[in-house]
């Protein structure tokens, strides 16, 4: 035990940061916090450690701490793409959309091949109501995404959802199909495709997509949402028993509200 304590005291900030990074990856958050604090104690302006502390603080619902770390990080090293991106992301998550643009733009400039800053710029512009800019950034994010990856599917799904909200159903369906190509196991993609097909009056294929979504792991789209959609689709398909069954499951499931 004394040996371990001695080792910890002897470890430098780089080692503490590395330990924290590994703990974070393995979701050992309290250990990660101790390690990152130790790193920053020895080296208060270590940018990667500041970013990691900010990410941990975000998980702990301490946006004030996260913001302070990230502002320090971008002040120390304005060329840190990671710090700029996470600062933009934090602002986005805090609904500070106008503030999010600058760091996300900087992150994009620093790392022009990365799809994530552009993706968040797209969602930020969507939140600000700039339809043209949002569509442009979604397209850029798509272009930067690897062919087959869950991250690409997320971008396609968000792009498709935005198109659907604009009443552009056909284009939305196309994005959902591409999302499924990128990640056949994306529940969100199958659900959004089902909604689009429903709008187009293709209830049979919509129901098939909804059923497929139900078999996939739950992320953003809840079971309740899918059961609700399926209940409506089976009603339209004149299959009252199935409609009733899904409606009952919808009612039994936890329902969410925005407030």
């Amino acid at each position: 035990m004394i040996w371990l304590l001695a080792f910890q005291l002897a470890a430098g900030p780089a080692q503490h940061y590395e330990n924290a990074r590994q703990d974070f990856a393995q979701q050992r958050f309290s250990e990660a916090v101790s390690e990152v604090d130790a790193a920053l104690h020895d080296s208060p302006y270590m940018v990667p450690a500041l970013v990691l502390k900010a990410r941990l603080a975000t998980f702990a619902h301490r946006p004030d701490v996260a913001k302070s770390c990230l502002i320090t990080a971008v002040t120390v090293d304005p060329a840190s793409e990671e710090a700029q991106f996470y600062l933009g992301l934090l602002y986005y998550m805090q609904n500070d959309f106008k503030l999010a643009i600058s760091p996300l733009q900087t992150a994009h400039t620093l790392s022009p091949r990365s799809p994530l800053p552009v993706f968040y710029l797209a969602m930020t512009q969507e939140a600000l109501g700039d339809e043209t800019q949002a569509l442009e950034f979604y397209q850029q994010a798509e272009n930067l995404s690897p062919e087959k990856a869950p991250q690409s599917a997320e971008i396609f799904v968000a792009h498709g959802r935005f198109l659907l909200s604009l009443g552009r159903t056909e284009e939305s369906i196309d994005k959902d199909r591409r999302a499924i190509e990128a990640d056949p196991n994306s529940r969100d993609a199958h659900y959004e495709l089902a909604k689009g097909l429903d709008h187009e009056g293709d209830f049979k294929n919509a129901a098939a997509e909804g059923e497929r979504a139900l078999t996939l792991p739950e992320l953003d789209t809840s079971d309740a949402q899918i059961h609700f959609l399926l209940a409506n689709l089976y009603r339209k398909l004149n299959q009252p028993d199935l409609a009733k069954a899904h409606l009952e499951k919808f009612q039994a499931a936890h329902q969410t509200t925005n407030r």
């Binding site: 805090q94 609904n95 500070d96 939140a127 600000l128 109501g129 339809e131 935005f162 659907l164 909200s165 604009l166 009443g167 159903t169 909604k195 709008h199 809840s222 309740a224 949402q225 899918i226 059961h227 609700f228 959609l229 409506n232 009603r235 409606l247 919808f250 329902q255 969410t256 509200t257 925005n258 407030r259």
Partner: protein, 532 residues
Amino acid sequence: MDGSKIDFVLKNSVSPERYSIETMTGGVALFDYNNDGLLDIFFTNGADIPSLKKSGPSFYNRLYHNNGDGTFRDITERAGLAGAGYSMGVATGDYDNDGFVDLYVAGFDRNQLFHNNGDGTFTDVTGKAGVSGVIPEGGKPWAITAGWFDYNNDGLLDLLVVNYLDYSISTAHICKTDNIVDYCSPNEYRGTPNILYRNNGDGTFTDVSRQSHISQYVGKGMGVAFADYDDDGFTDIFVSNDSFPNFLLHNNGDGTFTDVALAAGVAYSENGKTVAGMGTDFRDIGNDGRPDIFQTAMYGDSFPLYRNLRNGQFEDATDTTGLTAMTNRFTAWGTGIFDFDNDGNKDIFAAGSAILDNSMEVNRKPYPLPNFLYRNLGNWVFKDVSAQAGAGFFAPAAHRGAAFGDLDNDGKIDIVVTVLNGKPQLLMNRSSNHNHWIILKLVGVADNRDGLGTKVKIMTANGVQYNEATTAVGYNSSSDKRVYFGLGSATVVDRIELAWPMGVKQVLNSVAADQILTIVESGRPEPRGRLQ
């Protein structure tokens, strides 16, 4: 408002505790109290907290007389309408068929029925009429709004009182987000049942909430609108609930109602989520003779538009109309479906404002928001034209209720919007187009005097349109009872068909446009059915 001489300020007595009632008040009614042909304006107001007393004139509800020259005169005290308690919403209707429109004020601790004496004064007849809003063995629930309609087609207006949360100042707890005190989510409290009062025709009412099954549906009501959505001859009810499934109360025609919202597809949004439902309107947007439903809600919800599919079913048309993208970032309260540019397609107005007065601090969302105008382009597509709608749509404010009617009788629908802790906005419609119009003032004879519930179909060279007479529109508010139609380029209405609630069918042919036409009910009741 300065030119109008309306100096009313809506006061909510904001407290450090952030009692939920504070953010909910602010109704307005447009009605012609003295039958001079001009719409007058009534505002509800808050009260002192925690006493809930209108401890001074600044808390009075207010009635403004329309002078006919663009100005208004405060006649509250002479009219006897200062009111009592913490008022919320208002409903107008001539319940005793004497030709003078009466007022019902819904409130947190007091509901009041004011009988219009016909001489510019009103009398509080709440006790005598039996419409205090008290639930037997349940006390007085928090009423947000109310609406007049003739549910049993007996020619007498009945009253639906919409109640919200089971909430009291003395037991309310303090809610916080990130250690900042804010208004509690409605999820923190149970809902309360609504109340249906049947008009006995002798100045009294009977609480029929239980036998009509109205009280078995316990929600968190914020808005109410009426329409006969399935055209069976009986007026149905839509109740917009806050973070709770909406109610579509189908009138069974035998004095009972059944909530069919889930089966009809209007209980939840398309995504299977409840929305923070606020105001609502229930009118035919598609000119197909079937009333559709619109609701305002809070950011992240979008404002749902449910399209009536003609088979008892509705579909969520928010995405396909483009309204999701237009509304998803905003919160709005008052609303109404009216043809603001008289082109023959009904448009949508929404009065924007966040719910929390410290919204910026709590969730980085601005509290004051502008008003919104969504133009109906036909074929179920809308366009946000707020930026072109004039200065009244640029100024962010804490908007609440909105009422609709033609204040200067120029054929264009004006809007009065209340503002929490501010003066109301009077949005005079100065559309510069040359579209024609007709306004129908209905006078029931066998039916209720206001003609509420009458279905109107018009035919012009530009096509067919439908509307229904109602004053229950939006949030906390009551609109002009007259029925409005924009006619586009048509200078003549080839045919007007009316289906009065008790079954009288009436037809007028070749009616000139650009007039306010009074139609007195005439004819014998026919078998119930739709306007063909």
